[in-house]
Amino acid sequence: MTEKVFSLQINDIKWLFFLSYLTAIVIDNMMVLSFDIQFMPSLTLLTLFFWTTQILYKSHLFSAFILGLAFDTALNTPLGSHSLIFLTTTFLMLRSRLRFKSYPLWQQSIIIGGYILVFQIMSWFIFAPKLFGNAPYYYWLEPVIATLIWPLLTLILNRLTHKTVFN
């Protein structure tokens, strides 16, 4: 038995799709360059997770690769390293996105926290970040922050999507 699941069409939300990524990249860069906040979960990756669960007929792996490259360029890390992490976490999300979509928001947030934890573990092994003082606590707190951000991000993007599609 097959069931049809509602999936957004990229043509309906083309501008919102690109602008959301652009805004997320700007905010991620702003945190580092303007506010000197070094430990925040990547809003770009969270936005990618959101679209992965909304636009179901696409794999989003190409987007993950390109966004990873943008991250490598912005953070001055070896080209392809963030792409690898983005691709891995997106792949994990792809494997369970239909189930993920059916979960209540609080449960989704916890799973997102888990994905960000994978992101942090991979970053730990690939970049060997130099953490002093309280930095290790902040570093491992990022999944918790992601858990808190996810409902807000989902709410905002859902509203914007709704406005774009139905207006």
Partner: protein, 253 residues
């Protein structure tokens, strides 16, 4: 990933990506620019007057020192000719640049300068401030460049201890901290010693002050000291820096 980490094969591709993402970074740096602009606007005229007075005094002192330097430079050139060694640093072979933004994350540490390929800036040029070495240019866009700071974990600077001439490798460990490697336990080193570039590796010009020794630990059974150092340059506070040109750097060879 491996290619970018160990070689310069992807440097042009990185430059292209940096140029693409530059507008995003400019927008991201806007809140900081706005904050600086507002802060500047509220600076009291008395403060500006006091700063002007201080700068005039400093300028006078520097001019006096420059006169002495010219005399010393002539003397050094004469001695170099006698010894047949390479010529020395020429102060005209530099470009002044302003810091647009800086980033200090646990992964990488760099500053963005307002000079780029259109200003004849090239990759691997050395950047200094009034006090000492800041880093090396690692990527370029037409109008800006990125300088990897000496505290970046990816960068290693060949240095020597100014007092003894003992050579070693200075490694960035982030958070304005450096680690001096390969100094044998038998050598003479103490807290406060100044480290300067040794010129080995032909990347950084010789004789630039880099760091001050802050801690020396001797581990039993280990052939080398465990040494910590602090950069001399104001890595995160300098607003104006100097980019040394390749011609001038080549003269040290």
């Amino acid at each position: 990933m491996v290619s970018d980490h160990y070689t310069n094969a992807l440097s042009n591709f990185r430059n292209l990506l940096t140029a693409t993402i530059e507008p995003v970074e400019r927008v991201a740096a806007l809140p900081l620019d706005l904050y600086n602009w507002i802060q500047q606007d509220y600076t009291h005229s008395n403060q500006l007057s006091a700063e002007n007075h201080r700068l005039k005094t400093e300028n006078l002192l520097l001019k006096a020192q420059q006169q002495q330097m010219k005399k010393l430079q002539l003397e050094v050139e004469r001695l170099n000719r006698l010894l047949g060694t390479a010529s020395q640093f020429k102060s005209t072979d530099v470009q002044i640049a302003s810091v647009i933004a800086y980033s200090q994350t646990p992964f990488a540490q760099y500053v963005i300068l307002n000079k780029g390929a259109l200003d004849n800036i090239q990759l691997n040029q050395t950047v200094i401030d009034a006090k000492g070495l800041i880093g090396q240019i690692t990527s370029l866009t037409p109008s800006s460049c990125r300088v990897q700071l000496i505290t970046d974990p990816e960068i290693q600077v060949p240095v020597r201890i100014q007092r003894t001439g003992q050579r070693g490798i200075l490694n960035g460990i982030g958070h304005e901290q450096l680690s001096l490697l390969f100094i044998p336990s038998s050598s003479s080193i103490k807290v406060g010693d100044i480290l300067e570039t040794s010129g080995l590796g032909e990347i950084f010009p010789e004789g630039r002050p880099v760091a001050t020794i802050s801690n020396v630990k001797s581990l039993s059974g280990e052939p080398y000291y465990k040494i910590s150092a602090e950069p001399i340059a104001d890595l995160t506070r300098s607003q104006k820096v100097l980019i040394l040109s390749p011609r001038q750097e080549a003269e040290h060879d």
